[in-house]
């Protein structure tokens, strides 16, 4: 027999679940109970159906990822589990800047990452970008010098090609 090897990889898993009470905790309990990672998790109802779609970014060896998909499948309210190989992945980020920063430069940067300034108030503006999670990371590095006051990331959503 062969024991499975242990190289950790980032993976995106989509889970289609019945929209019912406590289904989310069934999923997160499974991850914490079995010691699996959750890097990010998004969830929203699927339009015109009784299901919701979760997108979970996780990390683990091939063996662990296989177990994650199998264990998810074992949960009674889980309809489908996709472990993506070939996918389109997007994430959104919102960032709050002081209005005194160089809004022009910020705006140009945003555009490079599918975004723009979406709101302005008395002394703050809010910018939004939506791009691949890795690129969102690059954007957040790039805007550091404009003194961002608050940053929120949405977590990734994904669709199989």
């Amino acid at each position: 027999m062969t024991v499975n090897s242990e190289n950790t990889e980032r993976r995106v898993v989509s889970v289609i679940v019945v929209n019912e009470a406590s289904v989310l905790s069934r999923i997160t309990n499974l991850f914490s109970g079995r010691g699996y990672n959750i890097t990010s998790l998004t969830v929203a109802p699927i339009p015109d159906s009784k299901y919701s779609r979760l997108t979970i970014v996780t990390a683990g060896s091939i063996r662990v990822i296989e177990q994650i998909t199998k264990q998810l499948h074992k949960l009674i309210p889980v309809l489908k589990v996709y472990e993506h190989a070939d996918l389109v992945e997007k994430e959104m980020a919102l960032v709050k800047f002081p209005i005194s920063e160089n809004l022009n430069e910020i705006s140009i940067l945003c555009e490079a990452y599918n975004g723009k300034i979406v709101n302005s108030g008395g002394n703050m503006i809010i910018a939004m970008v939506a791009d691949e999670p890795k690129r969102v990371g690059h954007f957040l590095d790039a805007i550091k010098r404009y003194n961002p006051k608050e940053i929120v990331r949405s977590g990734a959503v994904a669709l199989e090609r």
Binding site: M1, V3, S25, P77, L79
Partner: protein
């Protein structure tokens, strides 16, 4: 018809053919108990602790193959039951457990005896429900029984708020279960089955590795046929005892930490593991990287998550064992049983080199002798439950099991206190068989209150207490691996077990010789009331052979060789 939630529970039990319910009442479940009072469709057994109710339902389920049913109240009633739920989950026992909950209006307010029951039971059940509307109850209960017994069986917990048990709604149980998201795989993939048969035909030293799934799926008969027609030797896990009869020439024995030398060596030397309903537990495999090192693995299991979890399966087959093995039997002519003759001889040589045995070298009785003796006297006529510890391993090693569902033990969780209530459930399911519980002086005290249950309900369980004045299994590890520092395992302080049993209205014996033991057992079987037979046994006996934790199966500590008298 329009009935209350409480009545729905009763109607459902009757519709599901439930004959025995184990439980304990309290505030939140009183409406249901009121309906129990009014009905005579099933029997309710009042255990004296909720944990015992769950274990009794487990024993009932394991011995009968039916879904066990237990009922408890909210808060402490439920939390007392959690160990039982976890035990049933680990050992895949089909069970429906109903608990009361505080009324809906009080949920979330830290009400009296409120606890987030479904939050707690989630990781130790196959599925659970909090029912918020009586109109959902028929569907939920129907699903609960269905989920409990299908696929890989397991406990399902249904939590019902008190006002929902009082609520009147439409009840119709004549409905189909329609779970789009739950469809267990029953049929094995024919291509995979064909490949597996070819692998068996090509193997030189194949070995059946039988697990508790064989019993759960009711596949023992077809598995026996498969083994006999192929002439391939078989090892059993702790949970699979009785799949093959003790006197079957192809049964090598039990493998694992306290498995026989021949079983563990066979597993180490095989070139093809044929795993049926077994899950490569660490107590079985020892050091994983050395386990069946040169073998390919066929793994048949109803639970896809069990396949390639720990050991990579070269031939994975997801399906119900009974189905898959029946399909395999159709291609059996491709397998030539003569081919394995020298392999069978190799295994016999292993067994002759280090047979599973013990030495009668003490003034006191040997615990292994007691187990063997019960086997000689009662054999097939008894069902055997155990608690957890050395006595459990000796029972597994030395009892002559002859049929599936004869052996009832807590394997996955290893729950001390399991044995006595389980044996009550076993007896309730199989009144014609003697119900024996092999227990220890430590374990028996963990559900000793069940003496009252057994006396009241006239369920005559015979508890054989192998008294070594120790938490023996822990003491053994301390002796072997902690330089004999016997920290908190000496049980010199003990009750008078005979009087203890008598105080509840049972009977008791304290025996120190073989003659006394024979007489006590004979007497107990005849008297037919709950019994303690306290057997004073050698204190420092170790369970051998032993694969030290994390060691390789072929590196066993063995019984010292001695001239046998």
């Amino acid at each position: 018809m329009q009935i209350s939630g409480a009545q729905m529970v009763i109607e459902t039990f009757i519709a599901e053919g439930v004959t025995t319910v184990f439980g304990y009442p309290g505030g939140a479940i009183m409406n249901v108990y009121d309906e129990i009072y009014k009905q005579d469709g099933f029997k309710h057994i009042l255990n004296r602790h909720e944990q015992a109710s769950i274990h009794a339902a487990e024993g009932y389920a394991k011995a009968s193959g039916k879904v066990g049913v237990a009922m408890i109240t909210s808060g402490p009633g439920f939390t007392n039951a959690v160990t039982g739920l976890a035990d049933a989950y680990m050992d895949s026992v089909p069970m429906v457990v109903i608990s009361g909950q505080v009324p809906m209006s009080l949920i979330g307010t830290d009400g009296f005896q409120e606890i987030d029951a479904v939050g707690i039971s989630r990781p130790c059940t196959k599925h659970n429900y909090l029912v918020t509307d009586a109109a959902d109850l028929p569907r939920v209960l129907k699903e609960a029984f269905y989920i409990a017994r299908t696929g890989r069986p397991g406990p399902v917990h249904v939590d019902i708020p008190k006002d929902v048990t009082a609520q009147i709604a439409e009840y119709n149980y004549d409905i189909e279960v329609n779970l789009e998201t739950y469809k267990p795989h029953i049929k094995g993939n024919p291509r995979q089955i064909k490949k597996a048969i070819e692998a068996i035909a090509n193997a030189k030293r194949p070995l059946f590795y039988l697990g508790g799934g064989v019993i759960n799926s009711g596949a023992s008969e077809v598995v026996r046929e498969f083994v006999h027609k192929t002439g391939i030797p078989a090892v059993e896990t702790l949970m699979a005892r009785g799949v093959l009869s003790y006197d079957d020439e192809l049964l090598v024995g039990m493998l694992g930490m306290h498995g026989s030398y021949s079983s563990n060596m066979a597993m180490s030397e095989t070139d093809l593991v044929i795993g049926l309903g077994a899950r490569f537990d660490d107590r079985v495999t020892g050091k994983l990287s050395e386990f069946a090192k040169n073998a390919d693995v066929i793994h048949v299991d109803i639970d896809p998550a069990s396949i390639s979890k720990l050991v990579n399966a070269d031939f994975p087959i997801v399906g119900d064992l009974k189905n898959v093995v029946t399909d395999m039997l159709k291609q059996i002519d491709k397998i030539d049983s003569d081919k394995y003759e020298s392999w069978r001889e190799t295994i016999i040589n292993f067994a002759e080199l280090h047979p599973l045995t013990f030495h009668e070298d003490s003034d006191r009785l040997k615990p292994q002798w007691v187990v063997k003796r019960v086997g000689e006297l009662l054999g097939d006529s008894a069902n055997i439950s155990t608690d957890v510890g050395q006595h459990q391993m000796w029972a597994a090693q030395f009892y002559p099991f002859s049929r599936p569902n004869q052996w009832i033990t807590s394997g996955g969780l290893g729950t001390m206190g399991f044995g006595f209530p389980a044996a009550i459930g076993v007896k309730a399911a199989c009144p014609d068989k003697t119900s024996i519980n092999f227990t220890g002086d430590g374990s028996i005290l963990m559900n000793v209150q069940e003496l009252m249950t057994a006396v009241e309900t006239k369920i005559p369980v015979i508890n054989i207490i192998l008294n070594n004045n120790f938490l023996g299994m822990v003491r053994q590890w301390q002796t072997l691996f902690y330089d004999k520092r016997h920290s908190e395992t000496d049980l010199t302080a003990q009750p008078d077990f005979v009087k203890l049993s008598e105080a509840f209205g049972g009977i008791g014996y304290r025996v120190t010789t073989k003659e006394e033991f024979d007489a006590a057992l004979k007497d107990a079987v005849e008297k037919n009331i709950v019994t303690f037979i306290e057997v004073i046994v050698e204190r420092f006996e170790n369970v051998m052979p032993m694969v030290p934790s994390g060691g390789s199966l072929f590196n066993m500590m063995l019984l010292e060789k001695k001239e046998t008298k």
